[in-house]
Assembly symmetry: C2
Homo-oligomer: 337 residues x 2
Amino acid sequence: MKITINDVAKLAGVSKATVSRVINNPETVSENLRSKILEVIDTTNYRPSKVAQALSNKRTNIIGIIIPDFTNPVFSKIIVGIEDVFKETEYDFLMTSTNFAVKTEIKQIKMFDEKNVDGLVILTDQINDELRAVLENFTKPIIIIGSDAGLEKIPVVKIDNYRAAFEVVSYLLNLGHEKIVMITGDMKDKFSGELRFDGYVSALKRKGLKVQREFVYSSKYSSKDGYKAMTKILTRTVVPTAVFCVNDKVAIGVLKCCHDNQILVPEDISVVGFDDIEIASLYNPTLSTVSQPFMEKGRAAAENMLKMINGKEVQREIVLDHELIIRQTTAKIKRKK
Amino acid sequence: MKITINDVAKLAGVSKATVSRVINNPETVSENLRSKILEVIDTTNYRPSKVAQALSNKRTNIIGIIIPDFTNPVFSKIIVGIEDVFKETEYDFLMTSTNFAVKTEIKQIKMFDEKNVDGLVILTDQINDELRAVLENFTKPIIIIGSDAGLEKIPVVKIDNYRAAFEVVSYLLNLGHEKIVMITGDMKDKFSGELRFDGYVSALKRKGLKVQREFVYSSKYSSKDGYKAMTKILTRTVVPTAVFCVNDKVAIGVLKCCHDNQILVPEDISVVGFDDIEIASLYNPTLSTVSQPFMEKGRAAAENMLKMINGKEVQREIVLDHELIIRQTTAKIKRKK
DNA sequence: CTGTTAGCGCTTTCAG
DNA sequence: CTGAAAGCGCTAACAG
């Protein structure tokens, strides 16, 4: 049997209210009793039950975190950033992954709600009407990392995906590429994927180029899908001179596929990824990509969450900087093939 | 204000006991009242507070998970395995990473204890006396993934690290290599790191070879450390013909370093990793390594946890299979240099 | 400064 | 089958 506040009270010969006081407002208790109680607490190794405290306080000291996928370092780093900010607090995190399924997101939000989390951090790029409704009905502070859900009241931390993609494609265009394929994310994905695609489209347009249907492929953000898409691309009559991938994982798959088919990168084809995950700078060749500050995203979100929990106002939108990182997978086009 | 069981009771014109019954044992309530209450629950969108239930039931429906590092896919996959088993249950996970610090592990275990988790899954390879004590005093079911802590009562899920390392080195020996370096993990790491090192040592010994001091390097399991170690190795007068790395991340760093220094793999040096993370088969060249069933580890742990929570007995030790995966980074030695 | 009391939301005897 | 009442462990007025 675990020791409770009652046990401590009895052992110290005081009421449990007093014990509660030394736990929460030690200064309101006389030196005398306080040290006595503290001693009992120490010898009995008493720890207040957070569950009981939660019921009484309406505060669980738990934050819910919902991410699409634990195995993508992109999301893991955000978690690390969040953890970092909360390191010295009493907070813990209820975490769950959704595998990009909105249905699962909704289910989990409800679970977290029932478990009375004090706040919710959700990393998502797909927000449909149902999810929007659930989010709006959530009674505790929420912060979204990733996409602008267009929810008036919910603060967002993000980067400018549109702009970043636009820069990538403009860069490729400047290198002389015109046949630029994009391997996008899931087309159902309403936000970062779509915005990156939009950036691709408008960069082409500005150059007077049309987006060609057979130059757009989709993926589920995995290396396997990147490999598959590239395999398909290589069978086409018109082979592109550059491939812009929705993320680095896809790009790695593309690179691998090129290597397996004796296609030289960047000599034959230039490849650009997105995210700058660790492997981007370790791969052979090193991958040109867009870096974004994941840890910082987590930190910003966490700091905002902390503020919201304490009833303070926060910025509705935080846009962090991205950066085009040029490495070995991109080069000037040599001649028209 | 959130709706409570009392509200529902009033609206349905019954006592809260009855409402509680239809939630937990619907069959004990008359058809009549039941449907009435169900309707109220439905229209009010009432959800029982898990916190209140927890206080009453002494069950939070929360499992604590402690891992060293979210950014290592090795651990993430285990999480995915665990999640998978619990998918259809009411359980959620309080997760935290420790960055391999025993101190943090201990702190978090205590936090989780206070928060009344129903069980604890801990992925760790370093167990010192203090941690051992904390673990032994934990009142709820625990399951360890990774290392045999030598704790009588705590079930463990693991692979045979010693045997796997022994096989790797024997394989290298059979290819004709004799100058085999090992880049180990943190030497403070008592278990998987140490066991892999032990396997290395005894494979060499069996061949009548001595372990040479200057052939053993340590790392903190990161690519950066692998790169650093390899840089050092290349400055030595005696350059090895093979490098066995404690994990794939380190191996990737080694590979990158070789490439940056015009060392050909496997022509000049063979490299072997451990874990078979996704990038191992995507890297260029593809990495020879030991694969281990991470998802399965998570699943096995989760299944055991579920059993323990329900008071059933479980195996004290589950040893999963590993497999030596030979890819492009290893080759027969050509000639003595 | 300290103790008494009520209550957080739910479950569970115990009567009826 | 249903309701009243006690209790889970803690906090927070309210008196004294």
